[in-house]
């Protein structure tokens, strides 16, 4: 038994076009705790994320992304406002959503907000569109979970139209039609980068290719290498739709500390607490120390360890997946702001240069 792809697949993967290597950071605005292990307020958490974004710029990360969430653990519903604040204090790092839950938003508003971010940041905005596995936004905005497929499909199609610039004509079931509508603000130099976040649905991979969005693989559990066929699927689909090659990225959670041991000790209890709570809500098994150790090992999806350990794993998986971008989702509810700042600093000053070295 093998998982070897067909010959046709291998041939096209070999022709993968090299895109520049991008190494970024993502957060969901996970609530941090103070030195007495008490949760900080939502407001303080948000201010801390601004500091984290500024530090990410200073230490050389290429991208800082904020994932939209609507819960007490992740008080981050207005990522674009936070990103704009970071934009005002930086001038290099690219800034984007990771992800925007497009299914429960209005594509016109999303375009307007990120096009505004693009204006204030001098062209540094990006979006990663998601269908939303974080289901909290559906009831909040009055959407039915059973419609998630149709909502995402329609809204993606409208977003693709909006990105082209120029008057938009669009018709669908999920929002009012548009006829030759001028949507402002216009972007200065063509569309800003847009990606589709995919968690494991091959149909979402095809959709990204069909509309010409780049592919961001969200790998949060299990073996990263098993996603390799998804990059191949993406490349073949782009070809079939007559599109030029587009980049592939990877988003995965992790935590960096000075030593492997310290990273594990800081991260594990928080992971158990947060993921354990979500597992109960979702009907999954609670993580065990054993399952955790598997996830942080070479066959798992978590990047927890010293800069060297994390850099080796990133380099190995980017190669295995034919991807040119990695975004580390740092933070886990309950860690301190200081621990997150250390992760960011080590990521920027040690992990990034080491990955670049390993991949050249």
């Amino acid at each position: 038994m093998t998982t070897a792809p067909s010959d046709a697949v291998t041939a096209s993967a070999a022709e993968a076009v090299p895109f520049p290597l991008i190494l970024g950071l993502d957060t969901f605005g996970d609530v941090t705790h103070d030195t007495n292990d008490r949760p900080l307020s939502h407001a303080q958490t948000i201010r801390n994320v601004v500091e984290q974004g500024v530090l990410a710029d200073q230490v050389g990360a290429d991208f800082f992304g904020i994932g939209e969430h609507h819960t007490d653990d992740f008080p981050m519903p207005a990522a674009d406002v936070v990103l704009a604040t970071i934009a005002a204090r930086t001038d290099r790092i690219r800034l984007g959503s990771a992800v925007t839950v497009l299914s429960s938003d209005d594509p016109v508003r999303v375009f307007q907000r990120y096009s505004t971010l693009n204006a204030v940041s001098g062209g540094r905005a990006e979006v990663i569109l998601g269908r939303g596995s974080s289901i909290d936004s559906f009831p909040l905005f009055g959407y039915d979970l059973a419609d998630y497929e149709d909502l995402f499909e329609e809204k993606t199609s409208l977003f693709a139209e909006l990105l082209k610039g120029g008057p938009v004509t669009w018709q669908g079931k999920t929002r009012a039609s548009l006829h030759e509508q001028d949507v402002v603000p216009h972007t200065e130099s063509g569309p800003f980068p847009a990606w589709v976040g995919v968690g494991g649905s091959p149909q979402s991979v095809i959709r990204a290719a069909r509309y010409g969005f780049s592919l961001m693989l969200a790998i949060i559990g299990g073996s990263p290498a098993r996603f390799a066929p998804f990059s191949q699927l993406f490349r073949q689909a782009l070809e079939r739709f007559g599109r030029a090659p587009l980049p592939v990225g990877v988003h995965s959670p992790g935590h960096v500390a000075v030593t492997d041991e310290k990273a594990r000790e800081e991260f594990w209890p928080r992971y158990l607490e947060v993921i354990g709570r979500y597992s109960t809500i979702r009907g999954f098994a609670i993580p065990t120390k054993q399952s955790f150790l598997r996830e942080i090992g070479p066959q798992g999806a978590l990047y927890v360890g010293s800069p060297e350990t994390v850099a080796q794993k990133i380099a190995a998986n980017l190669t295995a997946l034919g991807a040119n971008r990695f975004d580390l989702k740092y933070g886990m509810g309950g860690l301190s702001h200081e621990a997150l700042m250390t992760t960011i600093e080590l990521y920027g000053t040690q992990v990034i240069p080491r990955v670049r070295e390993l991949l050249t």
Binding site: M1, T2, T3, P5, S6, A8, V9, I135, F138, D144, L145, A146, G199, G200, S201, P202, Q203, I206, G221, G222, S223, R226, P229, Q232, L233, Q236, A237, R240, S279, I281, R282, G283, F284, A285, S291, Q299
Partner: protein
């Protein structure tokens, strides 16, 4: 990983149709093909739309219209979202073994009235609607991302066990053979109602367990 196939206990292995080309469907199609079965795959629409998915993720699985795939198969795997089940035509799968890998968990699926009667497991409700099919519940309680990697040859010390529950003993045999050939120990349950032990929130959902531990876990719960 290499596996020796189990000896042919059935003179002709059942032809399999996988309905669903999302997260789970193509993975099931692939591992079934690699276990030596003849497999077709369908989504809700035109097979042309899933041609690339079949070609890349489950080489050898023929993309079909759902009705054609089901008609030509002996065993139909239902890997569609539960909220789409009410729209599935039961005559499509009449006379077939139906392997139900669907799960009902309202926090992620939303509330589905049809499945809200807590006296019954979701597969019992599926069986009631598919009255002319033999429904077996299995392959529902491991993640699509594990299905591939965790396969092991029969006899491997770390081989994972999966529950196989159904009212029709012959259908349970066929599904258990599929599970075994794919690379898991099949733990049989002689009724669909016992399939509730395999549901989300249950003792084995998403937990990799070897046979002995699996049996302990379900017995502790059933006791």
């Amino acid at each position: 990983m290499t596996m020796t196939s189990a000896p042919d206990r059935f003179p002709a292995p059942p032809r399999i149709a996988v309905l669903g080309a999302g997260h789970v469907g193509p993975v099931i199609a692939r591992v079934a093909i690699e276990a030596g079965y003849q497999v077709s795959i369908a989504a809700s629409g035109d097979p042309a739309e899933i041609e690339l998915i079949a070609q890349v993720l489950a080489p050898g699985a023929g993309p079909r219209w759902a009705a054609d795939a089901a008609r030509e198969a002996d065993l139909v795997v239902l890997a569609i979202p539960l909220h789409k089940f009410a729209a599935l035509d039961p005559t499509l799968v009449a006379g077939k073994i139906v392997v139900d890998v669907m799960n009902y968990w309202p926090p992620t699926d939303g509330v589905q009235e049809m499945f809200e009667d807590r006296r019954y497991g979701s597969s019992e409700i599926v069986q009631r609607r598919l009255a002319r099919s033999a429904v077996v519940k299995t392959l529902n309680h491991l993640g699509y991302h594990e299905l591939d990697d965790q396969r092991r040859a029969a006899g491997s010390p770390d081989r994972r066990a999966l529950g196989v529950a159904g009212d029709d003993p012959r259908a349970v045999d066929v599904a258990a053979e599929l599970v075994d050939r794919v690379g898991y120990d099949a733990v049989r349950f002689g009724s669909l109602s016992a399939g509730r032990l395999l549901e989300p929130g249950g003792p084995v959902f998403g937990v990799p367990l070897r046979r002995a531990d699996f049996e302990l876990a379900v017995h502790a719960q059933a006791a």
